[in-house]
Every structure is written in structure tokens, then in C-alpha cells.
Symmetry: C2
Subunit: 174 residues, 2 copies
Amino acid sequence: MTALTRFIRDVPDFPKPGITFKDITTLIGDPAAFAQSIQELSAPFRTERIDKIVCIESRGFLFGTPIALELNAGIVPLRKPGKLPYETIRHEYELEYGTDALEMHVDAIEKGDRVLIVDDLLATGGTAEAAAALVTKMGGIVESFVFLIELSFLNGRSKLGGHKVHCLIDYDGE
Amino acid sequence: MTALTRFIRDVPDFPKPGITFKDITTLIGDPAAFAQSIQELSAPFRTERIDKIVCIESRGFLFGTPIALELNAGIVPLRKPGKLPYETIRHEYELEYGTDALEMHVDAIEKGDRVLIVDDLLATGGTAEAAAALVTKMGGIVESFVFLIELSFLNGRSKLGGHKVHCLIDYDGE
């Protein structure tokens, strides 16, 4: 377990009773801790060619953006429907109750682009799976998923199609 | 006018007919252009003490995060109601039709903190004004606003209480 763990704040009963939320605002509020997290998240990819960093709205923007600068890669934001201004493709995915969707600009990924998909946290994996579907549909290659935190007891990795997963902080029980 | 202007894409009729949207995804998709924008946005503050970078959800996260790393400052996300997990303060502001609101964690700003407020674009200034109100309420000092783009024909600066404004790209007419 990395020393960064102590910068994560547990918030009980958010977003609903019985859930303990892992709050990353206490980590990004500390300049040294945040800089360290970006270095550690980027480290495995420094010797690889990475073309695009796909960042999932909106906490994924906080981590994906500086990783893109570290790795000299372009940034591709994935957003909820209706937010991106240009022509998009959409992928719908199941939630516990109902469905949700992510959109990506049609020209954001070129065929053969090597891509990292970045978000703050891996829970059940539905959103990350949708991101990979969009990247693959446009001919991109998912080199790895990158998360600050993994809630491994939710087994989100099982949805990630055997792709590599790089994460710094693991919680293996509630 | 900076050379970065050519990386901004005009999208007609978004989010509604008659509006030409300034799309920054084409800039952040280009690693050199994005890196240059972060350098230029950070430049005026390198010799000042900046404690916190207040980033407005969600495109403000894309620019505020790397600026915080450049200036060795903490990141404070401002979000729409209900998104932040810990105890918040809220500021409501007027839209063309109805109202909207921004929230900030109560412990995100300490009294006397010197703050930059970052967003991708200054339009009518309502959101930026709300951000300044939250910072000031917690005892922070707004050192400057920082925007990649200003739509100066909308005169958003008039709402910003005489604070400094640093922006790279100005559009002075529709």
C-alpha cells in the first residue's frame, strides 16, 4: 500500500447510506501528494509509445490531464451525452438501476492509436468498459487502464477484457 | 492573438442554434499545443505565492490541474450541487433563464490562501463570479482569474469585481 493512501478521506454514507466514499479531494489538495500520484501513475508507460490519454468525466480529467503532459500524449475527454460539441459516438452501459452512456468525438482517436484510459477510481467497471468499447470502435488500442484507486472487492477488473490495469491504491473490503 | 488560436475549433449551432461554440478538445488533443497553453497560462504567477488553484467543473479541471502542478499549489474542485462528498458551501447564481449553483468543500480554502480561479472560457461571467464568492466567503484571496479563452464581446469581466484576468485567446465579436 502506497503512502498516498493516507491522503484519501473516507466519507460515510455518500452518495447513499451504507456506502463509504473514497474522497480524492484531500489528495489533490496536497501539492506534493498529487505530484507524486501523477509520477507513479505515469511511470510504467514512460518507455512506451502512448498517443492518447482517454479521460473519463469528470474526476478522470484531474488525473488524465497531467498524465498526458508527462507522456507527451493527446487528451481525449469522454463525457456524458450532450456535453461534447462536435459529432460523437456513444456507448450505453448498464447501471444497477437503468442505463447510462458515454460519448467521444468521432475524430478523437485515430486507427492504431495506443491509448491509456484514465479515471480516479475503478468500482464495478461499467464506465471503464464503455470507454474501452469507444476506443476500440474507432480502431484504437487500449494499452492499459490507469486508476488512482481500485475497489477490488467489487471485481471491476472482470469487465476490462484482460487489458492491463495500473492502480496505486487498493481497497479489498468495505 | 496567440498561435494557439488555430487549435480552437468553431462548432456552429452548439449548444443551440445561432451559437458558435469554441471547442477546446482540438487543442488538448495536440500535446505540444496543450503544453504551450499550460506554460502560458502559468507564466505570470511563477514569481508569486499561489496556494490553491480553484478549478470549475468540468473543463476547468483540464486546465487547472496542470497549472496547479506547475505552480506547486493545491487543487480545489468546484462542482455542481450534490457531486462533492464532504460538507460543502454553495453559491447560487443567475442564468439567462433560472438559476444554477456551485459547491466547494468547506475545508478546501484556508483563510489567507492566495487563489487562482481557472476555467476554460469566460463568457458572461456568472460562474466565475460564483467561484470568487465561494473563495472570498472562506477567507481566500482571489489573486487572478485564468481562462484559456475570453469572449470579450459578452463583457464577463464586468462581473469579476476588478480582479486580474489572465487569458490567452480573445474573441471580440460573434
